[in-house]
């Protein structure tokens, strides 16, 4: 009997959803409006202003969030071509160029914000050129006014403050797989290439000097020229990045040139220091030992720098593993330790660039896994911003410094000779090295690649800073060198920077092809990796894949265990990540594209409904222990998925606003932190519980673990609020926010609707849920006529997966879910207060809150039967709720409503919760009458 009823309800759910007025219209509408939001971004300027004037701080949060949302949306939306609501060109233009938009292999931005106002100019001229010209102009003005050059690029400032952010950014966002795939080539070019360039350039210039072609004023010996050669020959990471980011050559080419520019720092530093000391010593005092020392110091400097970097990467990863309680300063650790690595290496004269690069490359995986989503975002944006700022400053100061003619000493032969030689020797070096390397490379670098690599050898601020650092007393020709360096830097950045884009187009260099990996690609490429590793094993050839495989084993076995949080470690799987991302992307498109999201869960649909039916059968028959166990496993997995989905989605959607809030009102951080911990605890507990369920088949164990989890959850969540939700609500300062925001939200609601597509869906689901609740409780059976394929569980639970969720199925399938009540409470509280803190609009807060509470809460009735006795001893649940859930535990729908309504109202209207059960029923009926 029960089964029949359940089954019919299951079927009748969807029509109920459809008949609820807001239901069917809202969901597509939500997406349409989301689409409209993209379109509306173009006019953002206008309504933003009025909005912010009206609503003050709360709305500023919304505004802050808008670009991020839109850029994200743009990324996602731009995937399929056939998008109905195509964003207006200004939107795309403005936002796909935002610093955090993924551009270039390293995903780094140039100093876009300044010059990207004009697309036409910047499509031809790289920003670095424009910045230099701007700097020249500014310097000229200063010179004209003050009669002397006031400002200069100070080497100390450059090396201590301007360079580290850029290097850290490039290291941290380095595509590590690509980097290590090509590490052999990169190292060759960086070491051999730079050595060759230095010596060849120095020697050739010395030859010119000896031949008497240079001005006699250039008083320089062989060592001076070698010194000059060493500083002028290193390819500059800043310049390379600035130019190559805009050229979009293919990843391999980019990573080789860019990796070389980063790694040649060690060579440059050593050569520079060695030659500098040689010059200072004077040629007469140099012994054979000094040469040996020079060679040794190269290894010391490069390997030492790398070691320092690795050490700090390890420390950093380890520290972030334990920052669960101090989420706020997580980003600080990243920057601080990376910078300390830089300083430490610099202090002991090791290669600081190498240190920061490797620190960034190596820590990223663990740090990203450990820190919270917010911190991840903070780190990302801050790093990009810092790097962009530094880059801007560097190029501007290059321009400004150049006008200081007092330091110039022009020698045409030297300048032209240097220009010629660096171009020539770079080309020769690249061709020779590539010839050798192609014997070892899987994919040989062809001639076009070589041309681009030769031509892309840009010199930049590092050379300039180094030449400024020269001691004029010891290096007699310093002024000549300075002038030459400036000319070389300007020539490479401006002339080569200007021409490399047409050159690349003309040569038809394989451009980078940026698309997000599809699931298939990700999956099969994983398979390819395994296949290659296996084949290498079979062939007995310990090649790259062998070592990569070994490393991954090692990483999995020890490093990840040591450096990652347990929660992060478990969840980490690339295929799964891609799946999530795709799903979320799809959820944006669902409204416009007939919902690919619904499809993946289709096959599980039947099995799920089956399991729910059998579950119900068993549950009503037996004490439900064993069967609960079985189905709980299924459910909890699904639930975990949902939880993760929630986190991902919420993290990606609301983060800018929350971030803003966190920094905006400091006193809200502590409750916020607490709740985040609770949420974390909840998540961890869910996972742990899942594990237990996987490993054990006995109910005893599960209940044990449950008890244990409950203990933990309570312990951790107890601090700021007592167990009683009412007390908590009364005490929490958050609620003041909510109510005050509510007024604002009324007026600003329309704009916000335009803004956030997903939120809309959430509310839709919520309304649908409410709508269906009523028929369920009143035993009004919806007519079974309009039944679309019955929704999957995912559709029911995940707001974005479908709004035709129905209560009946919840009951049948969800009853098996065991969620300790206090954990639910922690969850709800954390969510509600988080949301109310984070999101200014009160109504939305309510909606979100409801959305998040739903999946958990529906599991209540069942747990009431099983977990209630335990709870009553250890935990004071609001009396009416526990009463109702107990009394209704056999007729679950009512129980569910009770349970469900409770937190809904707690979030919306704290005052109503205080009142007794009757008003709640009233409210419910009110809602029913609405519909």
């Amino acid at each position: 009997m029960a089964l029949d009823k359940e089954g019919s309800e299951t079927e009748q759910g969807p029509p109920a959803a459809l008949r609820v007025p807001p239901g069917p219209s809202v969901r597509p509408g939500g997406f349409c409006r989301a689409g409209a939001a993209w379109r509306g971004v173009g006019e953002r300027g206008s309504w933003q202003c009025s909005l912010s004037l009206q609503k003050g701080a709360a709305c500023v949060a919304v505004l802050l969030q808008t670009p991020a949302l839109c850029s994200r949306g743009w990324e996602m939306v731009s995937q399929p071509a056939q998008l109905p609501s195509e964003p207006g060109p200004p939107t795309g233009a403005a936002f796909c160029r935002l610093p955090w938009g993924k551009r270039g292999s390293a995903g780094r931005a140039g100093p876009d914000p300044i010059f990207h106002l004009s697309r036409k100019v910047t499509s031809v001229v790289p920003e670095s050129c424009l910045l230099i010209l701007l700097g020249l102009g500014l310097g000229g003005i200063v010179l004209a006014v003050a009669k002397k050059a006031e400002y200069q690029l100070e080497p100390n400032m450059f090396f201590l403050f301007l360079l580290p952010p850029i290097v850290l950014d490039s290291g941290y966002f380095m595509p590590s797989r690509l980097f290590f795939d090509n590490i052999g080539s990169i190292l060759t070019y960086a070491v051999v290439g730079t050595l060759w360039n230095s010596f060849a350039t120095g020697m050739a210039l010395w030859g010119l000097h000896q031949a008497g072609l240079m001005d006699p004023g250039v008083k320089a010996e062989l060592m001076d020229f070698l010194l000059f050669g060493s500083l002028i020959s290193a390819v500059d990471p800043v310049a390379v990045l600035a130019v190559f980011e805009e050229v979009h050559v293919n990843e391999t080419l980019f990573i080789i040139v860019f990796g070389e520019s980063l790694l040649n720092d060690a060579v440059t530093v050593v050569l520079y220091k060695v030659f500098n000391s040689f010059v200072e010593l004077g040629p007469a005092h140099i012994h054979a030992m000094d040469y040996v020392k020079g060679v040794v110091s190269f290894f010391l400097v490069s390997l030492g720098g790398t070691a320092v970097g690795l050490l700090f990467a390890f420390l950093l990863a380890l520290i972030t593993r334990f920052t669960k309680r101090v989420r706020i300063i997580e980003p600080l650790f990243v920057f601080l330790l990376a910078y300390v690595a830089y300083l430490a290496a610099e202090m002991v004269s090791l290669s600081s660039i190498l240190a920061v690069t490797f620190c960034g490359i190596c820590c990223k995986k663990y740090v990203e896994a450990n820190i919270s989503q917010k911190s991840r975002t903070t780190v990302k944006y801050t790093m990009k911003t810092l790097a962009s700022s530094s880059e801007t400053i560097i190029f501007m100061f290059l321009g400004i410094s150049a006008v200081d003619t007092s330091k110039w000493a022009w020698d045409t032969t030297l300048v032209l000779g240097t220009l010629l030689f660096i171009l020539l020797f770079r080309a020769v070096g690249v061709v020779l090295q590539t010839y050798v390397l192609n014997h070892f490379r899987l994919i040989p670098l062809d001639r076009i690649d070589q041309v681009v690599m030769s031509y892309g050898g840009l010199r930049g601020a590092v050379a300039f800073a180094l030449v400024i650092l020269l001691d004029g007393a010891k290096v007699k020709a310093k002024d000549y060198f300075v002038a030459t360096t400036i000319v070389v830097v300007f020539f490479t950045v401006i002339v080569q920077g200007l021409t490399i884009k047409p050159l690349v187009t003309w040569l038809k260099v394989k451009r980078s092809d940026h698309h997000k990996p599809t699931l298939n690609e990700e999956l099969h490429e994983h398979a390819f990796d395994h296949i290659l590793a296996a084949v290498e094993d079979i062939v007995g050839h310990h090649g790259y894949h062998y070592w990569r495989d070994k490393w991954e084993q090692f990483d999995k076995k020890y490093l990840s265990q040591l450096l990652m949080r347990k929660s992060a470690y478990r969840l980490r799987d690339e295929i799964w990540d891609v799946y999530y991302k795709l799903n979320i992307r799809a959820s944006w498109l669902e409204g416009t594209r007939g919902g690919p999201l619904a499809l993946p869960s289709m096959p599980s649909r039947t099995s799920m409904s089956e399991s729910s039916v059998t579950n119900l059968l068993r549950e009503s028959g037996s004490g439900a222990c064993l069967d609960l166990q079985v189905i709980d496993t299924v459910r909890s997995r699904r639930d975990k998925e949902d939880a993760v989905m929630h986190h991902v989605l919420r993290g990606s959607l609301y983060k800018p606003r929350r971030r803003y809030k966190a920094s905006y009102s400091r006193h809200f951080i502590s409750p916020d932190k607490q709740e985040r911990q609770d949420k974390e605890v909840f998540r961890q507990n869910m996972k742990r519980r899942l594990e237990t369920f996987k490993s054990t088949k006995h109910n005893v164990c599960s209940s044990k673990s449950k008890a244990r989890l409950k203990e933990k959850g309570r312990k951790k969540s107890a601090a700021p609020f007592s167990n009683h939700p009412l007390q908590y609500l009364a005490a929490a300062p958050v609620l003041v926010m909510v109510s005050s925001d509510e007024e604002e939200s009324n007026s600003s609601e329309t704009e916000r609707e335009d803004d956030e597509g997903i939120v809309f869906i959430a509310r839709a689901t919520d309304e649908v849920l409410q709508g269906k609740k009523t028929p369920g409780s009143l035993d009004v059976c919806p007519s079974p006529c309009i039944i679309p394929p019955s929704p999957t569980l995912a559709e029911k639970e995940l707001p974005w997966k479908g709004d035709q969720a129905d209560l009946a199925v919840y009951v049948s399938s969800e009853t098996t879910k065991i969620v300790p009540v206090d954990m639910q409470k922690a969850w709800n509280q954390s969510i509600s207060s988080l949301e109310s803190i984070a999101s200014p609009p009160g109504i939305e807060t309510g909606a979100q809150h409801k959305r998040f509470t739903c999946p958990v809460l529906e599991e209540q009735p069942q747990s009431a039967s099983q977990a209630m006795p335990e709870q009553s001893s250890c935990f004071q649940f609001p009396s009416h709720v526990s009463k109702s859930s107990r009394s209704h535990s056999d007729s679950s729908p009512d129980g569910i409503e009770q349970q469900e309504l409770q937190p809904l109202m707690a979030a919306e209207e704290p005052s109503r919760v205080v009142s007794s059960a009757e008003p709640r029923w009233l409210i419910q009926f009110n809602r029913a009458s609405h519909l």
């Binding site: 599809t518 390819f528 290659l532 295929i575 799964w576 795709l582």
Partner: protein, 182 residues
Amino acid sequence: MGSRASTLLLSHSQITRLYSRFTSLDKGENGTLSREDFQRIPELAINPLGDRIINAFFSEGEDQVNFRGFMRTLAHFRPIEDNEKSKDQNGPEPLNSRSNKLHFAFRLYDLDKDDKISRDELLQVLRMMVGVNISDEQLGSIADRTIQEADQDGDSAISFAEFVKVLEKVDVEQKMSIRFLH
């Protein structure tokens, strides 16, 4: 030996080296390798797809592979040389062509050899590759999603043509080649 080299496009030194590897793997010293011989390779035992790859060496019904078969399989992984790209298309397709590389990977999935990767087959491979961290449910949705993404004719399976299509942007020549034996 020379004639084999021409069909497999393996150089003399490659064959020599492969042969020495072959004999060192051949513990029974009977000129053929059995599955056990492969499984003795320690790294292969922990490779999630190890068994599938071992199976790829054995033609249907056989449980021994001779040196020729050994070479044939491994020849799939020879990188494509520059001069081969421009070669005339008339001759038989070399084993290391893009299509053959892909087909090798495809066969690892396609257990029942019906030229389609069904959901179950995909799930099996997925299960091997992701370890225990992910539930069956999640894997199922990944598999569904994967198939849905690749499926063009709506048969809820991935045919070889669909497999090729979905990987058309992937640099298979590079990702399915190893630089063994220069």
